[in-house]
């Protein structure tokens, strides 16, 4: 029996379990049952799910087992996934954290969901999102310390993957909503290039900043998910120029990259996060990475302010009608975002867009010198549950639309720290290859205390 086969199925990454499924050493139904049992054992503590589709998932698993010889070539055959509860699903409610929509079934699948199902993936359920993917604290807890936030807004997706309730989950990021919760929960997340994954059927927070993306426990699983999700979609015009690659091939033989370490981020990090990051960077250097110290010309707070301004104006407009009907039903921070976003003068919105353009040129110039940029993923470790954390370090990559990934780099105060890696537009293959190399060099985090 292989090592993978000796582990409980819930403990395996998607790729590890998929190998067993393809060899018929693991039945899809047994994999799903193991995950449902894990959810039952841990959910009262973690609270990662809005709805677990146990009957639907098990029914689909049995169908896939029965038709295995016909479906075996599907890239996600039997892979269970969690969906952030802003992804429309034809058969489950999509509430986006809004109480009036708790029972609202949208009756169609988001393009990303459609692609997952067509690839053989099994929807295990809907994971908790902060209301409308903004910043009101959710019920979900950080599996590393139940008194800390898992981060947001893809709170349930990150916490569910971290606590081995599901190997893979989909989230979305407008400022830092994939990378920050993944880092706070000690797992990996990918925010791809803007326009690489269709946003069709995903409830928007801010059109020009919204990025769907996966959360997982290995780079291989991120590459697997991206290989299914990436590509143009006639229902989302921003994907018209999407450039895809063979992401799984790209990570097979990763080489030591040249990294640009952006010192500005270290200046704003807590001492614990700074130290973990410097230790990780030293390990990468010893393993053969070339390092260059870089500085931003545009101050980090200005970059974050431009992102915030654009997000706030777009969110206010998206919610104008619903807010007029049901302002009292909004969570406090989301309501304030809308009501103050509606007051921003157009001249300052345009100024923020101009800063965005200039910063994009600045990032392109930095990336002309190195393969990838590295920073801590967040300025801090997961704070208490009255906040979803600090988005300053992730917002720059959302603002300019370049891809970024977070890989666990160590612990501070007993909580995970992430290393954030960013690359140029459409360079996910290079980014995932670099992340795979980093994943091999850095020691894994200790076992989750749950």
């Amino acid at each position: 029996m292989s090592t993978d086969a000796a582990m409980a199925p819930y403990d395996l990454t998607a790729t590890e379990a998929l190998r067993l499924v393809r060899r018929r050493e693991l039945r899809v139904a047994d994999w799903v049952r193991s995950l449902l049992d894990r959810v039952a054992a841990t959910e009262s503590a973690v609270q990662a799910w809005v709805e677990v589709n146990d009957q639907g998932a098990m029914s689909r698993a049995l169908e896939e087992d029965a038709a295995f010889s016909r479906l075996a070539s599907l890239p996600l055959i039997g892979v269970p996934l969690g969906l952030k509860d802003i992804y429309a699903t034809r058969d489950l409610p999509t509430a986006a954290g809004f109480p009036l929509w708790a029972e609202r079934v949208r009756g169609f699948d988001a393009t990303a969901v459609e692609r997952v199902r067509d690839a053989g993936g099994i929807i295990l359920g809907k994971t908790v999102t902060t209301q409308f993917a903004f910043a009101d604290p959710p019920k979900t807890r950080n599996p590393w310390n139940l008194e800390r936030t898992p981060g947001g807004s893809s709170s349930g997706s990150a916490a569910a993957v971290a606590s081995c309730q599901v190997p893979l989950a989909l989230g979305s990021q407008t400022a830092g909503s994939i990378l920050r919760p993944a880092a706070y929960c000690g797992v990996l997340g990918l925010k791809p290039t803007y326009g690489l994954i269709s946003r069709y059927g995903i409830y928007p927070l801010a059109w020009s900043l919204d990025h769907p993306g996966p959360i997982a426990r290995s780079v291989e699983d991120l590459a697997l998910a991206l290989s299914v999700l990436a590509g143009s979609d006639s229902r989302d015009a921003t994907t018209a120029r999407a450039r895809t690659s063979d992401y799984l091939a790209a990570i097979r033989a990763p080489r030591a990259p040249t990294f640009g370490v952006i010192a500005d981020f270290l200046d704003f990090a807590t001492p614990g996060v700074r130290q973990v990051t410097l230790d990780a960077v030293a390990s990468l250097s010893r393993a053969g990475a070339q390092l260059r110290d870089l500085r931003l010309a545009t101050p980090l707070p200005v970059v974050a302010a431009a992102q915030q301004t654009i997000m706030q104006v777009e969110a206010a407009e998206i919610h104008r009608s619903l807010h007029a009907e049901a302002a009292e039903k909004y969570a406090p921070r989301m309501r304030a975002l809308i009501e103050t976003g509606a007051l921003v003068p157009s001249s300052l919105y345009l100024q923020a867009q101009r800063i965005r353009r200039r910063f994009r040129q600045e990032v392109a110039a930095l990336l002309s010198e190195v393969d990838c940029l590295i920073t801590p993923t967040a300025s801090n470790v997961a704070p208490p549950r009255d906040t979803t954390g600090d988005r300053t370090f992730q917002a720059p990559w959302s603002l300019v639309g370049v891809p970024a990934v977070t890989v666990p780099s160590g612990l501070s105060e007993g909580l995970p720290v992430g290393l954030q890696i960013a690359a140029g537009p459409w360079e996910e293959a290079k980014l995932l290859s670099a992340a795979r190399w980093v994943e091999r060099v850095l020691p894994p985090l200790p076992a989750l205390p749950l």
Partner: protein
């Protein structure tokens, strides 16, 4: 104007706009959010850009 003056001026404009749009009660409730937004917008407003070298760009990735 120094940075604090810019924040105060923007906050005053936002509060006036809020009074007109949402009324006094909501404006009082939004006081903290208005102050935070004024600080954010002041950072944006204080950046010196030439029109020629930084035209607006509305889509995430060029």
């Amino acid at each position: 104007m120094n940075a604090d003056s810019v924040i105060l001026a923007i906050a005053a404009d936002l509060a006036a706009a809020s009074e007109r749009r949402w009324g006094s009660e909501r404006t009082r409730a939004l006081a903290g959010a208005i102050e935070t937004l004024a600080e954010t917008l002041a950072l944006v407003a204080n950046v010196d850009l030439e029109l020629d070298d930084a035209e607006p760009d509305f889509i995430g990735c060029g």
